[in-house]
């Protein structure tokens, strides 16, 4: 199951990471190196073994439906890289010059 250059670029795109072209061959090699050590898992018999889902010993606790304000000790505007009239601002999406869908091109 060798990782290809295309895999790395695909995964980088999914993760919104722009990779330096010069770094790509090394990353391909590193990921292959790391994943080659994972191959031992394929030989482990896990027939009938449930995957771990939640390490704790309890079920999800439920919170009463009460409104409360968790205090913010600094205003949101101070945190935001770009802020106007109470909104966070981001560069406008190309697809949203017209009506747009959920996550195109984001």
């Amino acid at each position: 199951m060798a990782v290809t250059r295309d895999d790395v670029l695909h995964v980088a795109a999914l993760a919104r990471l722009a990779l330096d072209e010069a770094r790509v061959p090394a990353l391909v090699q590193e990921l292959n190196g790391i994943l080659s050590h994972m191959d031992v898992l394929r030989k482990v018999d896990t027939e009938g073994v449930m995957g771990t889902a939640g390490v704790g010993d309890a079920a999800a606790p439920l919170r009463p439906d009460a409104v409360a304000q968790i205090p913010l000790r600094r205003p949101r505007a101070d945190l935001a890289p770009a802020w106007r009239d109470g909104f966070f601002l981001v560069p406008r999406l190309a697809t949203h010059d017209a009506a747009g869908g959920e996550e195109d091109d984001a």
Binding site: H10, A13, L14, R16, A53, G54, V55, G56, A58, A59, A60, P61, L62, R63, P64, D65, A66, V67, A68, Q69, I70, L72, R76, L79, A82, R84, D85, G86, F87, F88, L89, V90, P91, R92, L93, A94, T95, H96, A98, A99, G100, G101, E102, E103, D104, D105, A106
Partner: protein, 484 residues
């Protein structure tokens, strides 16, 4: 749609409906879930996805989701798992949506959306119902070159209801949505307002030759913001697919966006492979475990559902099917009717008033039945006054108009406006005698047997009484005069 070719094809539709649950606070943090606050006011470390914050599940969101699952006849799982759906979008603060994936809250339900001509039910299967959180809002048209992000809605609890591909026309899809909306309204889990976005619909559509049992390649249609938009979008997408198939082409699996202004669907500009959501179990939330006791209790707490109520109205009040449908359209209207009917002791009159004057008044005043100025007890009293002859039917309509405007009780209005019918025989007899005296010619003809003049004379008495005379009694008195 182009004639002969498309008749050979049938539409296959499955719907994914997102419904905002009516909770006070958000799904995973205590921020207010209310609509309409200033931008980003209802946000905290959790729904802003500040580093280090963690989700804690809202009990009420769970209860409402389970309630909806029961109403849709689903099997509620005692154990369900939250999962992360990973994608980047500026109104999705964590870069993932907390949802449920391979172990949802509920599965295998169904919803009856109508009856065939032979009376057999038309049923749509419900594949699954799961809980998730809403994203924030992206405002694209406010600032030049920038999109503005408001996270007040981020984290508001949703359920997603996924149907089987059981619908065969846009009409059936529309019927499904109407019945579903009505059901959710009845069980009071959501405001189900499509314009405000508390109910949102995506459709999976495919076309196949009639008689074919396999499903064709489907496309997902999004961005429909009303029931009529859903119908039109489905027709447009179906026509597009049929045209492709007719040309001998193949339908491409993709997301289509409905453009209401142009009345057409067009492909979303998404990149190949960008819909790899990389679901995995949400490690910040242990599995949701519900006891059988809890699940059963929520089921027992379900109110009467629309179909049961319709059957009961038909049975108990002897109302024809068409009227039942009108009266049970919303639970609030049905409650209103029932309250009036019981207090007035006259279901037929109550039905006539509610379907006539009440709906007209609501329409004209844009009031909702829940906040309607005329209380059921007052309408019932008005019906009683008509029955007892205290006011005439036409006076009652005027009184009702005043009740809508002022919210005052009918007897007060009737008295104030002098609309109470006069049934005092002395007074009536005086008016009758005056009228006979003032119209000697007509009186003579009436006495000589020209019965049709009775109406004219009654009209004169009514006029003299400014409408307050009880016409039935006036009739009697006039007839007595003739006989006497």
């Amino acid at each position: 749609m182009s004639g002969a070719g498309s008749d050979r094809y049938e539409m296959v539709v499955g719907l994914e409906v997102h419904v905002q649950l009516k909770t006070r606070s958000k799904a995973f943090c205590p921020c207010s879930a209310a609509y309409g606050a200033p931008p980003n006011e209802n946000t905290c470390p959790v729904c802003l996805a500040l580093p280090g914050s963690l989700p804690v599940l809202n009990a009420e969101a769970v209860r409402l989701a389970v309630r909806a699952a029961h109403a849709l006849c689903c099997t509620v799982n005692e154990r369900s798992i939250f999962a992360r759906k990973n994608y980047f979008y500026p109104d999705l603060p964590k870069g993932y949506q907390i949802s449920q994936y391979d172990q949802p809250l509920a599965v295998h339900g169904h919803l009856e959306i109508g009856r065939n001509a032979d009376g057999t039910p038309i049923t749509v299967g419900i594949t699954r119902l799961h809980m998730e959180e809403d994203a924030g809002k992206s405002v694209h048209d406010r600032y030049a070159g920038a999109t503005a992000i408001d996270l007040n809605r981020a984290g508001v609890p949703l359920i997603e209801i996924v149907s089987e591909p059981d619908m065969r026309s846009s009409r059936e899809a529309s019927a499904y949505l109407k019945v579903l909306k009505q059901l959710l309204e009845y069980i009071d889990v959501s405001d189900v307002n499509m314009e405000e976005g508390s109910l949102r619909v995506d459709a999976n559509v495919s076309a196949r030759l009639r008689g074919e049992t396999r499903l064709g390649t489907k496309t997902e249609v999004k961005n429909m913001n009303s029931f009529s938009a859903v119908e039109r979008a489905l027709e447009a997408e179906f026509a597009r697919q049929v045209a492709v198939l007719e040309r001998g082409g193949t339908v491409e699996q993709q997301t289509m966006l409905w453009d209401g202004a142009r009345g057409e669907v067009r492909p979303a500009r998404s990149k190949e492979g960008s819909h790899d959501y990389r679901y995995f179990p949400e490690p910040d939330l242990p599995p949701l475990e519900l006891s059988l006791d809890y699940i059963e209790r929520v089921k027992r707490e379900l109110p009467e559902l629309p179909r049961a109520r319709q059957e009961r109205f038909a049975r108990e009040y002897a109302i024809p099917p068409g009227d039942v449908e009108v009266l049970t359209a919303s639970p609030a209207l049905a409650d209103y009717f029932e309250s009036v009917a019981r207090q007035a002791g006259d279901a037929k009159a109550a039905a006539n008033w509610v379907m006539g004057e009440v709906l007209a008044a609501l329409n004209a005043s844009k009031q909702s039945i829940a906040h309607f100025s005329v209380r059921p007890a007052d309408l019932a009293k008005l019906i009683g006054m008509v029955r007892d002859g205290a006011v005439s039917h036409s006076a009652a309509k005027r009184i009702f108009g005043d009740m809508v405007a002022t919210g005052d009780p009918p007897d007060k209005i009737a008295e104030r406006a002098g609309l109470l019918q006069v049934r005092d025989d002395d007074e009536l007899a005086r008016w009758v005698d005056e009228v006979l005296a003032e119209n000697p010619a007509e009186a003579a003809r009436f006495r000589s047997g020209e019965k049709k003049l009775l109406g004219v004379l009654v009209g004169q008495v009514m006029k003299k009484s400014k409408g307050r005379a009880d016409p039935r009694r006036v009739n009697q008195l006039l007839s007595e005069r003739v006989g006497g």
